[in-house]
Amino acid sequence: MLLTALLALLVVGIAAPAVAEEPDPNRVLLWHAYRGEERAALEQIIRQLHTESDVRVDLLAVPYEAFRQRLTAAIPRGNGPDLFIAPHEAVGEWSRGHLLEPLPYPNDLSPSAFLESTTDALTFDGQLWAMPLSFKSLALFINRDLVSGTPATLDELLAMGAGADVPLAYEAGNFYHHAALMHAFGARLFDADGAIAIDTDAMARSLALAGKLVADGAVPPESDGALVSNLFNSGATPFVINGPWFLGEIREDVRFAVAPLPSVTGGGPLRPFLTVEALYLAAQRRSSNEAVQSVARAIGGLQGSLVRAKQGRQTVPLRAAAADPVIADDPVLAAFVAQGAQAIATPNRPEMGAMWEPMNRALRRVLRGADPRVATAEAEQEVGFYLRPPPERAAPGPYLVLLGVVLLLGVGWSLRTLQTHRVMARLPAALPAYAYLLPAALGMTLVVFVPFLAGAAVSLFAHVGGEFTFVGLRNFGRILSSSEYGITHPLSFWFTLVVTVAWTLANVVLHVSIGLGLALLLRDPWMKLKGLYRVLLIVPWAVPNYITALIWKGMFNRQFGAVNAFLDLFGVEPVSWFSNFFTSFAANVATNTWLGFPFMMVVTLGALQAIPRDLLEAAEVDGANAWQRFRHVTLPLLKPALLPAVILGSVWTFNMFNIIYLVSAGEPDGSTEILISEAYKWAFTRQAQYGYASAYALLIFGILWMWGLLTQKLTGAQA
């Protein structure tokens, strides 16, 4: 009955399509990823606009992690926003991908009203696409309780900070932060003609300096945002290089100042990347130009800019706002404005997306002691792998013939099976079984198989800048031949496959043995406190793994992590977990074991109930010891109920993307990536090569399929 009610609900859901409303040209849907005070400022501006005009703005906060995917999925289908606020870096990718329309500036607010560097950042292919709203860059934060002066050079800074535990803290292993040093030495990622220029002396010198800062103990080697905040708030460091978002992380009782970054000896001033947040107009928008312009004026104009500066603490690029006391008399905002003038906009060409991963790797390699020039050469080579031209277009003719042949063979095979197994004769008797299966089968076909087939078809195409070209099986050829790099290179499919298999094996063995062990300890009715243990032990499964995985990453920090602190009790030297393949791999496995054993424990607890107690007692009476009872009674009886969980567990672990992404992030040098995380990278951080990523995913699927067949054979043989 419940079933029918729910099916009815589904049908109603399907049968009541969204009523096609006449779009109201005065309604504007605006997507943003703001939170806290920035969001409050935006809402205040929109409320003000509502009192002054007929335009109605609907705000929707989309989480940052889903923002890009949602834009690319929604805009081409006509479900996108009218306007959205996002950083400038993707303007090249989005405009080439037909997601944008140039934003029509209001007459009284021309592009020249904004700082040129910010409108330049939003110009691509000779077109200004969006309106700059704010700019963000790193600057120097000084703890005024520790240091009174403002250093003009890096040497001065280090001298002033020499007495502290940590003279200077910044995210040394993050290329976004390193860019300030890179620019100080005159190095750039692209030369004047737009060609890639990573492997240069200037780049190597900047990396060498970063390496020296870490080697000298002036900067902590493994630092993320949380560690940097902590060092600053606890007074361990007088100097932090960080962006305006850091303001919210400083403890209220810390007296601090913000200043532009210092200069380096043998180079110029540190010039960080400039990120421009802008108002974009989405393709397929429904609102009128007039409505869009009045929203743009309200947010980007003088009044809106001042609200965002005052309430949202944003650094606004409107020239007319700079002289206003709200900004001029605010030392923090003024420092960020001064720094912004020295910053260099992150390149907005689509190729930039492929730079982060190789540059982060090169940087971390140097921090671990590698030769900077070798690192730059390798980074340039790696960028080359990501940016290589797609496979040649293939003629679809032969593939269509092949498809036809495969289909014919499939039909032939099905007919033969129908005959040999006398399916038609057995069908009437089987009808009730199909009735039980039908609801699940329908749902699975609609929501799982159909999207999968559509996604799989993409593997036959190459995707470049929003255009798909048919390339046949050439994506697969490239992956399997691993021709550009040797099979021992971390980018190689085969290398990653070996890592993935080892990862899966280690996890499944640990999950099952720990889960089973705990379940056996907790099954007996006379066991005291068993309910309490059970509930406490599922906690790792209950807390969202996004946050616990990051806690684990922090626990593996070399200097400050709990794991090294614990090992220290036994006199073990601190381990730099993420700079060696085996320790990094072990860190991933430890985290995932922690996350996964409660599930196995719960499954085993359930499965253990299928074993009649008398059977065990009988065995005991017959003189079987505990191990014999487990080996010959419990385990065989447990198998049918436990096996599905083990098989599925192995499949899930094989595709466990989150942990790799959040804990080791592939360190060192991408060697701890697994196949699924590589596939994600090809799709999302390496030039949106969807076809290649889809081919990767299909290969993963193929491997797992073979594994499934193997297990079915093994279990079938025993049945």
Binding site: A61, A73, G225, A226, S459, V539, P540
Partner: protein
Amino acid sequence: MSRKNVDRRATWAGQWWRHLILIVVTFAALYPVLWVVKMALTPSDAFDLSANPIPTQVSLGNFSDLLDSTDMQGRKLFWYWVRNSVIVSLATTAVGITLSCSAAYAFSRFSFPGRSAGMGALLVTQMFPGVVMAIPLYILMDATGLLNSLTGLTLCYATTAIPFCVWMLKGYFDTIPKELEEAAIMDGASRWMIFTRIILPLSRPAIAVTALFSFMTAWNEFILAATFMADETSYTLPVALQRYVGDYSTQWGAFAAGAILVSMPVMALFFALQKNLVEGLTAGGVKG
């Protein structure tokens, strides 16, 4: 003899070593979570990094950020999110369990053409990497008018959970002796009666496991919910939680507080279900 043995094991002295192991494991399991609690209770994002997971300052400010979220119309968003999460998760559990029990029964008790292929197909769905599915799924939801509806989300989550549930339940059904059913058939019971009156009640442990699993599938998912839902009042809790993760920085305190709020109901549910985990087949009832 056996009686006496059991009595000895039922005392603290007889089971101390079990408690020793369990205390060590429980500590290891809770240590990282204590950190989440510490982050949640420490005011602003200025928690200290030491091995000590006990908070030095305590404030509930981080919780209020999520609890007090309002939109421009002044609506208390938190209660919308809770409502949506509860509806979607319960509906997913109900749909998932219903469809899975029925399918698993067919796989366990009937012989029919396509049986092993069907089980294989379910396993295969777990092998589809999400990376190829996201955009086609979006287009499908859009085409069927299920975008921006809790029904659409429920459908997606339930189908994600079904394969595991079917495999798990089928494995469990297989351990239930066929003699019971044969006896019932002799007494004139229909297939449906056997399924609902004998098999399902006996399978409570497995149903409890799959219910928890289905609930969790829906309860913690955020990417699809963040992509499909068109209004902040139709978001689910994990989407709201994910807003604290930015491109440059994460509001750890608020994020941790939210994570704790999100995991409370799961633990409550487990607490409610765990009785069933250990009250399945009673030894006397189904001796073969």
